[in-house]
Symmetry: C2
Subunit: 369 residues, 2 copies
């Protein structure tokens, strides 16, 4: 592949269709958007995708097309466009592999904190981190701050806004964020814990800078954002401009994960969200409310943590209905470089703080720390 | 429905599953993200979705759930989240209907120009508009400007950047946009035409304001943007902040259009992109390179043009491989309040300007103007 971007697709080819023609069609659609030959000859070598490999893979065809980095540069929206822009409107094309040359990786700084940096912020050295969500939407800022306080006292490491809580009149951002942050900071001062509060900054473009300023002014060290709602570049922009840790939320990504069309979760979460600069990537764990298989989750974990040029590893954040009782099981499966996001399962207990404390203790015992 | 947001879903329910339980699950997931009863009672009435209707629809179930507007407010990213955020990660849920109460519509200004405003800018009164794309990626700014000039001389109404052309070193934005705009303005001055050039402003957040300033300074009256790459709110933000016309491009939207999971094109393009403020919405027409059915295209056209509270109608922009010879056919099918975006089919001809002129004349003859 050398210094080219390599994208591997699995194609569903119907009877009578020529897989090589389909591959060439993708190479053209994703670059020149013109049929063969309707452009000057030098453009062929400069920007048209090059079909490097094509072979049967079960009932489908596996194709690798390489692209000159000039096509996407260091522009994340255009990167998504190159990966699956117009071809999203076709059928039977699944992006299953992405190889980024060092020259492209170097243009991105990736996670600002990464696993080591988040560990340093929370003081959690040799165990997985625990994350909980202040919820539900509709509560007042004070009620949400009470929940943050309970989690912080119990020793939860990261307390985040529920991702649907934005700026509703029941808890406006500029009111909620300082109250939740103050509650966590006060609980930390009292308990000696190092809990962090990450507000949800997903918002219209015009509001984004003011919300980030507000979060930073309040003393927050990180935020959560939903890249599919505000664009993947929001991760990068926040990390670069505000110096805050960023956890990416998977809302609205699910339509990409069809069995034979889309982009696999391990590429979207494990490679692209990390490339963009996520310090943690939330995904919906196997065995919860969402139908992810354990193998997919493991592939996401692997991608987020494996060496990737100059990019720091990022925390996999397993959520979406993780049962409090099963956390030790998942630690054994996934290892310690994990964040477990526990929501409903804690809220099911009569005393949120007590339930959270028991979870923290169970994880400590399980990890002998 | 009254003053609530109504969302209609078709659910694929497997044997043994209770459709009412699935509906309730959606109502909870999209709001409180907690199972039944794990939240204070008043939250139920304040924010939890209310299942208003549930009935069989062929092999699927049709469910209407209404939401208090408080859940989304006037925040477009949160609107997308309410519509299909976390449930995108489930299976067999298709959003097929969206009813917006007047109180919600009033919070959005919608298209700034709309069909009438774009007609005024182009001077095209009683015929469909013609749009062409300056392409391909890899050409120099001067070569792209030459193509813009040819289209403008021929009488094409709107000349847009190909959506994959952003800021590649072969034609950097700040160099390309003034050159293309100047070429079109000079051709207009000479020919008496009113062609417009719409550059592609899809870009990382940090670059967005500078590119919009550059476009406005150069004299452009409108732009194209890809909402799924930079977030749907970009449409709204550009229209409100820069006063430019906005055409939305459909790249990366296709994964949403699965037969039994996602959001239908008529809702995404016809309702949401219009609500956000698109003056024109590009879609991939039937009979071109992409597999849209004619009925879907007609539904998009209808939604974009029908009365919708205080919102102006927006232009459907049929593209994605429209054949130059078939334009009269599509005019008869879709009516005159259309923009036809012709790409490859013009580039197939030996003389771009001559081919464009013949198209302009053919449309004029067909419409007796």
């Amino acid at each position: 592949m050398g210094e080219r971007i390599g994208i591997t697709y699995l194609l569903t080819v119907s009877a009578g269709e020529d897989p090589a023609a389909r591959a060439r069609e993708i190479a053209l659609e994703q670059t020149v958007e013109l049929p063969d030959g309707r452009y000057p000859e030098y453009i062929e070598h400069r920007v048209v995708g090059r079909v490097d490999a094509l072979e049967r893979d079960g009932a489908r065809w596996r194709v690798t097309i390489s692209y000159d980095p000039i096509t996407a540069g260091d522009d994340l929206p255009q990167f998504l466009n190159l990966l699956f822009g117009n071809i999203s409107l076709m059928q039977g094309i699944q992006v299953v592999g992405l190889e980024l040359p060092a020259s492209v990786l170097r243009r991105f700084s990736g996670p600002r904190f990464g696993i080591a940096g988040i560990r340093q912020l929370t003081g959690a050295v040799d165990r997985p981190l625990l994350c909980a969500a202040a919820k539900p939407m509709g509560l007042s800022s004070n009620a949400l701050a009470d929940r943050c306080r309970a989690f912080a006292r119990a020793g939860i490491d990261i307390i985040k806004d529920d991702h649907g809580i934005t700026n509703q009149p029941t808890s406006p951002f500029e009111e909620r964020v300082p109250r939740c942050q103050d509650a966590v900071a006060a609980a930390d001062a009292e308990s000696g814990n190092h809990a962090l509060y990450f507000p949800n900054v997903t918002s219209p473009i015009a509001a984004l800078p003011a919300r980030l300023d507000c979060a930073r002014r309040a003393g927050c060290r990180g935020v959560i954002v939903s890249p599919m709602l505000v664009g993947i570049d929001a991760i990068h922009w926040i990390a670069e401009t505000y110096g805050l840790a960023v956890f990416a939320h998977p809302t609205f990504t699910g339509a990409l994960f069809h069995p034979e069309h889309g982009v696999t979760p391990e590429i979207l979460y494990g490679q692209l969200f990390r490339l963009a600069g996520s310090d943690g990537v939330v995904y919906t764990n196997a065995g919860g409310r969402f139908p992810f298989a354990e193998g997919v989750c493991e592939a996401i974990n692997t991608h987020l943590r494996e060496p990737l040029g100059n990019l720091k590893p990022a925390f996999p954040v397993a959520g979406g209905g993780v049962d409090v009782e099963r956390v030790p099981y998942w630690i054994d499966r996934y290892g310690r470089d994990m964040v477990f996001l526990i929501g409903s399962s804690l809220y099911a207990r009569p005393d949120l703080e007590q339930a959270s404390r028991e979870l923290v203790e169970a994880v400590g015992r399980h990890c002998n720390v």
